[in-house]
């Protein structure tokens, strides 16, 4: 409830403020360039600030007959207003150490002046200023509610500036930029808000009173003001006496006070502290405009750019969340199948909806709802639970009341259940909340586990389909998910088959194809080849091994009922297929680092390309698991060649059906754990490609090994991006 309050405030405020914010951000970006330009137009040395007031006056007096004032302008440059002996007046930027002109006093250009007034009031005068002011205040709360969300997500302040775990891209960058831009945005919002409050006199601002020395009154004893000690950098403005008479004195404005100083003996005649509100509003202006510091104005400009990105990414995330919304066709208490979901970003909800639709389509009475809406009902025969995990192991917002509800009102009749957890292996407590639910149900004898808990990494749709097939088999209720839910067709290319090799053993067929692109395209090993079989709208992805600039190899396992694998298997050399390259940058090979390749079955495909790219002869080891030497024979020639040309240091093959002693790839990892960890600690990268089952067991073993030899969980290396995976 508390979290959804923050989420709703974050969203509603964002919608209201976004229009004004877009205008203010764009003009803000443009305006942030002005201080940079101003600073580049004139020379300025920081040591000028250390010149004394006396030196400054003397140096100016050596060139000019009379000085009427010295001032620091908004950009921090020194400006003199002087009169020459010939009776001409000049105003110019100067060097206080020599009294020489250092630059012209430039009037704000018409363009920037126009832009400033747009930024302040959108050309709507008072209404516009009011809108801008309110938006500044809103921006403050948007930033604040946003950062509260991030803290809740990561559970601690410390983690706030740690590396973010990868989730979906827009959300990932929304969080990353959010952390970076948080402080400058808060500063912009607070100062903008303050200037607005001041403008509308919603905060009391007392103006500094003019110092007028009353010579009739007895003089205060305030001591003398040492012109030869005071540094010019501490002074904002000096107004000079007009003529030689005691009634004319220096008026000196510093950051926090105003002084009247006698022109002959430099006695302080009177002084007054500036009201703190004046100091505050000057500071606000400096911080809001970046006028005193180019670097700060660059930061402000970048923050304004990031605000534009937040508006885009924020709405995109919201749309992603909303796409799962659905209306139930049947009432809850007449439904036999109830799908409960706990969704954090909307992806789980979307998958749940997909299952719902396909179960309803074949005539089931199904009800889809959040875990929090659970009610007991006698009609429930099948309970399907899909849930994400929030942060490091909590229930997502839409599921945080479920455990309590279930404990007080569980189902008491016999029913079947299947739990699917969604999460990321990058988090240490992978699918922790799903595990909790599994334990909760396991306690009840009337709850029959239809399938063991399934954990799905990075919203893998492929894994969900595998679960659906298992569920269909176990429940004997038809559940056929679309082959791919992404029907948007990518731009495709033609590829000619130039080589194929196939092996069959015990009815299992595996084959490799070498394809030559007919057009010039860019791709890397590890990218995906999306193959569109004729007359089928759905694509299948295969991991690419890059053989040369226009040649690639894929490794395919023939599935008896698979449309695509049968299509590819039947293709002859010389024929062409239609396919698209999908960038898979999380699984690209880095030739400058040493590498451990771990895979099984057709997972060898991308490695065939990656190893060939090890032209720098970095340390590289291959671990591959297969059924028997016949399965391996498909790759043997290539691997042997790589080893001979020293692209690979060791080749470690685990064959599970060859002898009585079953060896799996994980066993080999365990055996070489120390060596592998050493490589990882030195910045080497582990690439894993193959089945999900292999991936999960290898990750488990690597985690044990990492704890043993590095005293750290594998997660530590995963966060550094040293473990790259592409499994299915």
């Amino acid at each position: 409830m508390i979290r959804s309050f923050w989420r709703w405030s974050h969203l509603i405020l964002a919608i209201v403020a976004s229009t004004v914010l877009i205008a203010a951000s764009i003009s803000g970006i443009i305006l942030s360039v002005e201080p940079i330009q101003n600073n580049s137009r004139t020379t300025f040395h920081a040591n000028w600030n250390d010149v004394t007031l006396q030196q400054t006056i003397d140096s100016l007096k050596s060139h000019y007959f009379e000085i009427t004032s010295i001032e620091r302008d908004v950009n921090g440059f020194y400006v003199a207003d002087v009169i020459t002996e010939d009776g001409d007046q000049f105003v110019f930027q100067f060097d206080p150490s020599t009294g020489k002109k250092s630059g012209k006093v430039e009037q704000q250009s018409d363009f920037y002046s126009w832009m400033t007034s747009f930024h302040r009031s959108l050309f709507l005068d008072t209404t516009g200023r009011f809108l801008e002011g309110v938006t500044a205040v809103l921006l403050f709360f948007i930033a604040l509610s946003g950062i509260v969300l991030v803290i809740q997500r990561t559970r601690s302040f410390k983690a706030l500036y740690d590396k973010v775990e990868k989730t979906i891209n827009v959300q990932y960058f929304h969080i990353v930029f959010g952390r970076l831009a948080f402080l400058p945005i808060i500063v912009v919002a607070l100062t903008g808000g303050y200037l607005f409050l001041k403008r509308f006199e919603l905060v009391k601002v007392s103006e500094p009173q003019r110092l007028e020395v009353d010579f009739e009154k007895p003089q205060k004893k305030l001591g003398s003001y040492s012109f030869s000690k005071v540094k010019i950098g501490t002074i904002q403005r000096v107004e000079f006496p007009l003529f030689e008479d005691e009634s004319e004195y220096y008026t000196i404005f510093t950051k926090d006070k105003t002084l009247a100083v006698d022109q002959f003996k430099h006695q302080i005649l009177d002084q007054e502290k500036l009201p703190s509100t004046t100091v505050l509003s000057n500071l606000s202006l400096d911080l809001h405009t970046g006028r005193k510091n180019s670097i700060w104005s660059i930061i402000l400009g970048l923050s304004a750019i990031s605000i534009l990105y937040f508006i885009y990414s924020g709405f995109k995330i919201t749309l992603l969340k909303m796409r799962g919304k659905t209306k139930n066709k049947f009432a809850y208490n007449e439904s036999n199948i109830v799908i409960l979901f706990g969704s954090e970003t909307g992806n789980t909800r979307y998958f749940a909806k997909l299952i719902y639709e396909n179960l309803v389509k074949v005539g089931n009475k199904v009800y889809l709802t959040e875990l929090n809406n659970y009610q007991p009902s006698d009609k429930i025969q099948h309970l399907i639970v899909l849930t994400a995990t929030y942060g490091t192991g909590d229930a997502p917002t839409s599921a945080n009341k479920f455990i309590q509800k279930w404990t007080t009102q569980p189902l008491t009749h016999s029913f079947h259940y299947s739990i699917v957890g969604f999460g990321s292996l990058a988090y240490p407590d992978f699918c922790n909340y799903a595990v909790q639910l599994e334990e909760l149900f396991a306690k009840q004898t009337n709850a029959n586990q239809l399938l063991p808990l399934v954990k799905i990494h990075n919203q893998s749709y492929h894994s969900l389909k595998t679960w659906a097939l298992d569920w269909q088999k176990a429940s004997e209720i038809t559940l056929q998910l679309p082959v791919s839910f992404e029907t948007k067709k990518l731009p495709t290319n033609q590829f000619e088959v130039i080589y194929r090799e196939s092996i069959t053993y015990n009815d299992q067929t595996t084959f490799i194809l070498r394809l030559k692109a007919k057009q010039k395209i860019n791709f890397k090993s590890g990218d995906l080849l999306a193959v569109y079989p004729p007359k089928d709208p759905y694509k299948r992805n295969y991991s690419i091994g890059k053989v040369s600039d226009d040649e690639l190899t894929i490794s395919v396992k023939l599935d008896e009922y698979g449309i695509c694998s049968n299509y590819l298997h039947a293709i002859e050399i010389g024929q062409t297929i239609e396919a698209a390259i999908e960038n898979n940058k999380n699984f690209h090979y880095q030739s400058s680092k040493s590498a451990i390749f771990i895979g099984n079955g057709t997972g060898m495909g991308p490695f065939l390309g990656m190893i060939a790219e090890n032209k720098q002869h970095k340390e590289a080891h291959l671990y591959w698991g297969g059924r028997n030497s016949i399965a391996y024979s498909l790759y043997e020639d290539s691997i042997q060649k790589y080893k001979e040309s020293q692209l690979l240091n060791t080749v470690n093959i685990a064959l599970s059906r060859e002898t009585d002693e079953k060896v799996y790839v994980g066993d080999l990892i365990q055996r070489d754990g120390e060596k592998i960890l050493q490589l990882l600690k030195n910045g080497g990268i582990i690439y894993i490609c193959g089945s999900l089952a292999m991936e999960q067991s290898v990750l488990e073993i690597l985690d044990q090994v990492a704890r043993k030899y590095a005293n750290k969980p594998l997660n530590h290396f995963q966060k550094k991006g040293l473990v790259k995976m592409d499994c299915y």
Binding site: T68, S69, G87, E207, P208, R210, E239, L242, F243, T251
Partner: protein
Amino acid sequence: MKQLLKISKIGVFALFIIIGLSFTSSEGDVKYKCMIQMVSYKGEKAMVVVSLIKPDGTYDRTLSVLGKDKKWYDEMQKWWDFHVKAKEKIDGITGASIAGSQRRVVLIKVPASAIDKKYKIRVESGVEDQKYVSNDVEFELSKDNINKNINGKVYVSSVRLIPG
């Protein structure tokens, strides 16, 4: 030798120009330093215009303008009406706008013939989002009023002319 002759020729020529210029343009003008002291007020910097007013109350000429941002000029209504009609060039007598509590000294040139002839000096002021004051200070341009503080009404605290 030739060189020296050339330099002295240029020098003499320049001297003639200087003398000529001072006779034609400055002979009839008197220069004053005009001190403008602002009161303390809340708000943006003020625009201030100093003008010479004929005995009949109409504008003679603009003497000084504090405020470089032309988009505010038409807010100074009375002066603006005259300024537009007269098509005066004021670039040389324009300076930055002036903040509350500050004091500024500007040089003004008035025709000697206007002194003690019932001509007046008028100071108008205006502040963004606040008001326009068409007669913040107004006083006769007479020898008596030189070196004397003349008090203003709204944004200007006082004005003083000092022989330049």
